[in-house]
Point group: C2
């Protein structure tokens, strides 16, 4: 019916269909025989208008198929009712779930979400920040791909729009953040393995690095990775394990030679007897590599993976995992952001959501102690 209205209008205009020109407040006003201001008042429902005039305008609006131009609206008000989100990799179920948390929180507050994918690339992340800021989002949620280079995040703050960090923190910036207790999680996971008798424990991360062999913190760009490595090392050292860092490997991402790196690690003579995988993609690669090598979980190698993806319970053996409150991470970060948008006065806080270990069947005593 609305559609018919549009068609009629278009055709009535000198007989030829004009589909480009959209219906504006002025059009509605003219059609309803009132001023533009009055029409605007009822269409944007602010101020007060007499009931009869209001009806008249509404009717005209419906007849013409009026749709407000949010761009124009945002331009005058300065608010877009939109929050920008920049994640590392939307293909990763981890972020998918977090984004749903964000969407849900935003939607229930009447906010829209604009999503950008940085691909864990700092350059793209910076570009995304510029774009989103350019679109005048009311606030930004970012999972920063580097905790070292934060100039662009600083610019967000300078623009006066609130910023919330998701999943990861950065250095040298006073900003709200919602993260998981990665250090503690790594500590717990490592201790669990140590308690089971392991002394050679590998941590395998997907984080990119020139060298897959860990040489030091300078290779690390993600706060989560750093936290976890520190957690692993702390637990190891507390147990008197010597040079535990020799078993750390990086760059085991989606597109790379991850399985080769894992195979190398497992074929050294002093091979690890247990592996902690930084996410389930890494866990998957460990699984496949182990299978190819004819090794068994948990008899030959024990495994603990970060992130309780739903499938980790149906493998054989089912995988012991660090369960992270991913949805909550997203939901909470959006909550914080919306709060800051409403009232920017409060000072930044870092919220740490806790994880817990879900014990399944992928951890056992090491093959030879």
């Amino acid at each position: 019916m609305t559609l018919i209205g549009i068609l009629l209008m278009c055709e009535s205009m000198a007989g030829k269909v004009i589909s480009k020109r959209l219906v504006t407040v002025s059009d509605v006003a003219r059609s309803a025989g009132v001023s533009k201001a009055t029409a605007a008042r009822v269409l944007g429902n602010y101020s007060t208008v007499s009931t009869e005039v209001k009806d008249k305008v509404l009717e005209a609006a419906k007849k013409l198929g009026y749709q407000p131009n949010e761009l124009a609206r945002s331009m005058t008000t300065g608010k877009s009712n939109t929050i920008g989100v920049i994640v590392g990799d939307i293909e990763n179920p981890y972020f998918g779930l977090a984004v749903r948390g964000i969407s849900d929180a935003a939607a229930s507050a009447g906010f829209d979400v604009v999503l950008s994918n940085s691909g864990e690339d700092l350059t793209r992340e910076k570009a995304a920040v510029r774009v989103l800021l350019g679109k005048r989002v009311d606030g930004l949620i970012v999972a920063p791909s580097s905790f070292k280079d934060v100039e662009h995040l600083h610019e967000v703050q300078q623009s006066g729009r609130p910023l919330v960090l998701l999943d990861r923190t950065v250095q040298g910036l006073s900003v709200d953040a919602v993260v998981a207790d990665d250090r503690q999680a790594a500590l717990t996971a490592t201790r669990t393995l140590i308690d089971a008798g392991h002394r050679r424990i590998a941590y395998i991360s997907a984080t990119v690095s020139d060298d897959p062999v860990y040489r030091g913190l300078h290779q690390i760009h993600l706060s989560t990775v750093m936290e976890r490595i520190e957690g692993v090392l702390e637990a190891s050292r507390a147990a008197g394990i010597e040079s535990p860092e020799q078993y750390i490997r990086l760059s085991v991402g989606r597109r790379g030679k991850g399985e080769a790196i894992i195979a190398d690690l497992l074929q050294g003579k002093q091979r690890p007897t247990a592996i902690i995988a930084s996410d389930n993609l890494v866990a998957l690669q460990v699984f496949k590599t182990l299978h190819q090598l004819g090794m068994n979980i948990p008899d030959d190698v024990s495994l603990i993976a970060f992130h309780d993806a739903d499938w980790t319970s149906v493998t054989s053996p089912p995988i012991t995992v660090v369960s992270q409150p991913v949805y909550e991470l997203g939901f909470e970060s959006a909550q914080v952001l919306l709060q800051r948008i409403t009232d920017p006065s409060e000072s930044p806080r870092c919220r740490v959501l806790s994880t817990h270990l879900i014990i399944r069947k992928s951890v056992a005593a090491p093959p030879y102690v």
Copy 2:
């Protein structure tokens, strides 16, 4: 350095920090001692400006920390350089992957992506369409949650902005679409099971319905589901199987009593000997239920699942799957959309991307033939 510029400016303004007011073209023009028009020309890099003036403007812009207001830009040009995307469930890795395809295609053409989540809810989908249209996206990619109710999609077309359907088609609307060959896929999967000796083949879908038992096509809202059911039934009938529809079940989604529905189905006296799962979430539930029931794959029940999620190869047994070109579905749909944005003249086409079966170990002969 940019930041310092901003700070200086703010502080130089009567000593108090003014963070609200953003730098505009006029500000830059004034600072550079040129007209607004000239400044605009270099800042928006159109038309021609002498090199020296250009440098002067650029310098002033950098000093003040000018950031273009894309909203204003879009308003005058009528283009936002943004495409809107509405998917059913971003948490589903299937859509996550498709969205990455879309993002990649869009990014390489200099377009941004605004994402909305319908949650497979028609009302939310309609709202999302309105919002995105209101934000003046240049085009829309939608995975429609119903092929029957398409009024809102019609409105998109009426607005003059191109629309591309992703993964699913609708009825009564001439529109571009990029989908997989679901019917053919279901046909092939079913035949594979029939060839293995199965006569009682269940199709289990996540699509919501009041009644988990299939009574007829009127329960179905998704074109993909319809296509697949038809494929299953056609292959079954061709093999002389009687009333194959008795084994179809619906509503086995994330939040529901999916496992109970599956358990019921498997405990009937004429239980199916093979199952086709509509996605890997369903497959997962089948896996778990079977395990609880003490049944084995493939000895007691054979399984074929739609979507080759990475984990389906590490279960035991690894699952035979219908591999869908999900990333390509997204990438291609964006390509088509961008093409339509550039040149709206061509008439709509439906592109069907082909799937293929990946044989693994979850299919065997039925337990008793």
